[in-house]
């Protein structure tokens, strides 16, 4: 979770550099490679709107599914967590059934947000959440439906 955090704790990386770094990681597929993310609109100089996908983990009901998410990094981004919303319908405990919003109260990473956390962390943590015992066997809405 705090990959590279030891270096970053003394130097505060400005928002734009931080997002550019994440953009590059997303493009190059650096990281554990089970999630993918990128910017929606390359012309948005504020780099606010992002799309992410999570590939459903093995040995769960989610296996083989591709979940799309929308992440919105407001101007206070690395200080405050982005808002995270599932675009593909999913049934897991930390996601609002009506809106697809990931509810920070039920998702530790957002509730205890630290500025070293990245969108990649959010996606991988959500993927872990899908594989958690209380989520892995839940009945899922049909694939290809959206919130």
């Amino acid at each position: 979770m705090t990959l590279g955090g030891s270096g970053g704790s003394s130097v505060v990386v400005p928002r734009n550099f931080r997002l550019l770094e994440e953009l590059e990681r997303g493009e190059k597929g650096i990281g554990d490679g089970t999630v993918s993310y990128g910017m929606d609109d390359g012309d948005d100089i504020y780099m606010r709107s992002w799309t992410g996908t999570i590939i459903g983990p093995h040995n769960t009901v989610h296996e083989g599914r591709i979940y799309q998410l929308k992440l919105f990094c407001d101007k206070d981004y690395p200080e405050k967590p982005p808002s995270v919303r599932f675009h593909s319908r999913i049934n897991i405990t930390c996601v609002n059934h009506e809106t697809g919003m990931v509810e920070p109260k039920k998702f530790g990473l957002l509730a205890n947000w630290q500025r070293e956390y990245t969108m990649e962390d959010i996606l991988t943590q959500l993927k872990k959440e899908m594989a958690a015992p209380h989520n892995r066997k839940l009945v899922q809405p049909p694939e290809g439906t959206f919130f």
């Binding site: 490679g33 799309t51 590939i55 591709i66 015992p133």
Partner: protein, 545 residues
């Protein structure tokens, strides 16, 4: 990597290197011009991996790439990574209709071929061929919801007749039409996948998906169905083994696990199918269960009533809860489900074996669940079983598939182990009775050690009135046994090496995942014999649940 060299001549102009990352972790690079469409690009990708173009789903920057767009339009540049996932073949919804038609068009064939006077038996008999695969649900619901449904007066009768008349079954199985059907895995898969209920079951149990994706398994199951002696032998043996397992305390838990994971979802799905047909009587699966129960069980009457009890329990709310727990009512339901699990397995010898062994963990679980080695001996020495194991083992592709998802972590960390498992010679050795015996003595040793843990667990279970399965302890036990199995086979003497060294790669993996407590990690890893997946589960399960 290698592709850099050989494809440099393809297009000197604007071709760039793009990395493809598969969902199973493997990675490769290829050269491509950026102005190709995604559709064409997929064909190129298909040449480098085993996923056909129409099943590929490519993801880049969090977006699923559409066939008609180009790489350029998504902003792909040199050195970027695209993720590849194997998806269901496109157009799963429209395939519903052709599948139903197919089923119908086969009906007259079958009826004509089997001159036993069951001309109307097409759909019903189709279901009965695959007792264990749950295709009954497929054929049955097709019949139930289609106009043909009303045409077939009593499915259960047909099925009963079929199961009691092995000759009829064999005749049917030997028919070219059916053989063709069986030899065409795509068709089978389509048939299965086009049924929403079946899909749901498979979605919920990815292990089953693997079974269905392997044509050889389907064929083996049918082989067994075709040979009545083999089938009876298997049934009898499974039955006996089950009763042995059942008699031991740990075995009971094991059966419960098997039941919860496989049997119940099947049942749910097929009950649902019955509901859509608006007529419980036309649910062939339910009827089949009932019939089979009374026809061949040791304890016919209770079994039948239990079956009914189970059905009524499951049918009102099949969807609200994925796994309605029959264990909540400790005594009554426990015996019901227990016999049910047994009858389920006797009824479907092929798939019971497959279901159990498809999943390596299950296999270990099975081994682990047998403090009484004689029953395992019995299973292992049964010629049918041996034959089956042999054919299984001699198919390295299937072995890989089976090992892939379960032991991915372990294998990744131990490339030698993977190599070993890909060597058919080794597999043959592995499946030899001597090795099995050796393994068995390992198990015995361990089971005596764990003997004192079991009563403890029994108690917990008794007190667990809500029925939330007390999996933690079981998991632990299972993992330990699982680890033993893998460890005993893969790494002959792991005991001399300190765990930090032995599991160095796994440890760093866990660290990366955010588990920082090294001691705890080591403990989890040694308990799971280095299976990262299982270790993570253990680590996550420890504090909360």
């Amino acid at each position: 990597m290698g592709a850099d060299g050989d494809s440099s001549g393809v297009d000197g102009g604007c071709s760039v290197t793009v990395h493809i990352r598969c969902s199973n972790g493997s990675k490769f690079s290829l050269q491509t011009p950026l102005d190709v469409t995604i559709g064409a690009f997929k064909v190129v990708v298909a040449g480098n991996c085993d996923v056909p173009a129409e099943q590929q789903r490519l993801i880049y920057k969090g977006r699923v790439l559409k066939d008609e767009q180009t790489l350029q339009s998504y902003g792909v540049e040199s050195d970027h990574t695209i993720h590849l996932v194997r998806g269901a073949p496109a157009s799963s919804a429209p395939s519903n209709t052709p599948a139903a038609n197919l089923g119908a068009s086969r009906t007259p064939n079958v009826g004509v071929g089997s001159n036993e006077g069951v001309g109307y038996g097409g759909a019903g008999s189709g279901g009965a061929q695959f007792p264990g695969l749950g295709l009954n649900g497929l054929f049955g619901s097709g019949g139930g919801s289609s106009p043909f449904g009303t045409g077939f007066p009593d499915f259960s009768q047909v099925q009963q007749q079929l199961t009691q008349n092995p000759n009829l079954m064999r005749e049917m199985m030997n028919m070219p039409a059916i053989q063709n059907l069986m030899n065409n895995p795509d068709l089978m898969r389509n048939l299965i996948m086009s049924n929403p209920q079946m899909r749901d079951v498979i979605d919920r149990n990815p292990e089953l998906g693997h079974v269905l994706n392997d044509p050889s398994i389907l064929r083996q199951t049918l082989e067994a169905a075709r040979n009545p002696e083999l089938m009876r032998e298997m049934m009898r043996n499974t039955d006996r083994a089950m009763s042995n397992i059942e008699a031991t305390p740990e075995g009971f838990n094991m059966l419960r696990r098997m039941y919860e994971n496989v049997q119940e979802p099947f049942l749910n799905a097929t009950t649902m199918a019955g509901e859509t047909g608006n007529d419980a009587g036309s649910n062939p699966f339910a009827a089949l269960l009932g019939n089979q129960g009374s026809a061949q069980s040791r304890d016919g009457s209770t079994n039948l009533s239990n079956t009914n009890l189970e059905q009524t329990g499951a049918s009102p709310a099949p969807n609200a809860n994925p796994l309605p727990n029959p264990w909540s009512n400790a005594t009554g339901a426990a015996s019901a489900a227990n016999t049910r699990a047994t009858s389920g397995d006797t009824r479907s010898p092929g798939i019971a074996g497959l279901g159990g062994f498809n999943n390596v963990q299950d296999m270990d679980r099975m081994l682990g669940g047998l403090p009484d080695p004689s029953s395992l001996n019995q299973i292992l020495q049964n010629p049918a079983m041996m034959q089956w194991m042999q054919s299984l083992m001699s198919n390295p592709q299937f072995m890989n598939q089976m090992l892939g998802p379960q032991m991915g972590g372990l294998l990744e960390a131990n490339p030698q182990l993977r190599e070993m498992l890909q060597n058919p010679e080794f597999l043959r050795q592995l499946s030899s009775p001597e090795t099995m015996q050796q393994l068995l003595s390992f198990q015995r040793l361990f089971s005596s050690q764990f003997g004192r843990q079991q009563p403890n667990q029994q108690q917990n279970q008794g007190g667990d009135g809500t029925g939330a399965p007390n999996n933690m302890g079981l998991d632990l036990l299972v993992n330990l046994f699982g680890g033993l199995g893998a460890g005993g086979l893969g790494m002959p003497n792991p005991s001399n090496v300190p765990p930090e060294e032995l599991y160095a790669t796994q440890l760093s993996q866990l660290q990366e995942m955010g588990f920082f407590d090294t001691q705890e990690n080591i403990r989890a890893l040694s308990a799971t014999a280095g299976n990262v997946h299982a270790a993570v589960e253990r680590l996550l399960g420890n504090p909360g649940h």
